[in-house]
Symmetry: C3
Subunit: 155 residues, 3 copies
């Protein structure tokens, strides 16, 4: 029998991406007590390649918002693995930290991050509402447009 969140993902037409291998000497997440610390993940496009480019210089805010949602899906994939595949164990999204590769005069980083935040709320409802910090980054791994890490409380 599918779980409540699995059913919700299905309703939303979401299939979680395969959990990508870390690009360096770290792991996708670490659990300590009831907290799952998810690593900073990046956006893997439909072609299997990272989505790169600077917001405000070739990448539009709208594109970046869609990219933030893609990163959110990667976070959910890591989270699912942390829960042995049972996302009903998720009690709440505690915090998202969003890093946006952008021009120094770009001020709409919160709107970009909503691409990921809206996803969490859509999937988990009230439990998906989270604390959040967002920064414009000078550089990100491989030149990706958006990197996000997360803390979830799990049962």
């Amino acid at each position: 029998m599918a779980g409540r969140i699995a059913t919700r993902l299905n309703e939303l037409g979401i299939t979680l991406p395969k959990l990508g291998a870390p690009i360096a000497n770290y792991v996708p997440y670490r659990v300590t007590g009831h907290l799952a610390h998810i690593s900073g993940h990046g956006p893997v496009g439909a072609d299997g390649r990272y989505v790169t480019g600077m917001v405000g210089a070739g990448v539009s805010p709208e594109q970046a918002t869609a990219t933030a949602r893609i990163v959110g899906l990667q976070l959910l994939s890591a989270l699912s693995d942390a829960c042995s595949g049972d996302l009903d164990r998720v009690r709440r999204c505690v915090r998202l930290f969003g890093l946006i590769y952008c021009r120094p005069d770009f001020t709409a980083v919160p709107a970009v991050m909503n691409g990921a935040s809206n996803l969490m709320v859509a999937v988990f409802g009230e439990a998906g509402r989270h604390a959040r910090t967002t920064i414009g980054a000078r550089a990100l791994p491989m030149g990706i447009s958006v990197e996000i890490d997360a803390i979830f409380e799990i049962a």
Copy 2:
């Protein structure tokens, strides 16, 4: 009867600002176990508008230090809400993360962040001493000069 920290705030002449509404799809804080994760907050000036501008390019280090204190007050306001108004429940300030919107050659970010750190120690004493990480940011939401998030342990 006023609590110990409320009395201390009064001694310091501090009235906590009204907790501002988040500017996007997130909440001002999330509590998990005994940890209150406070979102990245920005400085709301006396005129009710965000304090913006780049340190080293129009904004002086001294102004930025005062701005970091204003952000600290916002953090305390969110923390108070997380404690249902009773700041005596705060056991310790665990960590501050300071993001300073500045020129690439600005090196005095620690002095700027002291504007917030000094506030925490003034209010909570030894319990206000915290771990800290400070970064010069390429961009911040709405062009604010300082953004800070925090973790507090609460009873």
Copy 3:
């Protein structure tokens, strides 16, 4: 009798550096429950001075990777203090957050951070594998090349 990790450090030829005094109003670490939050630390060179400079503009990626390892040693020194000198109390490295002072077009920040990550795995083995977030920073305290903070779970 020397502990397991002390023996391991000895095998690796590592002597932990003296824990430096924070450069502003914060402490090197804060413990809450089983979590030790280590402050953002910087690289202190053999001459006792901070290692500064921008990666991709005077500092090579290889130099920065070595610098990240030096910061990792500072983190271990703070962690040891948090454990009253007994690193056998460390259960796992939960998360590293790496801030690399670099050019906006520098994309190899993950390789730089491996300088610290490889150290954690060398010292703690499987327990040293961690979640990780890495960002290219616009500015860092005193112009240091690398700043890293950490969360460890301790007994």
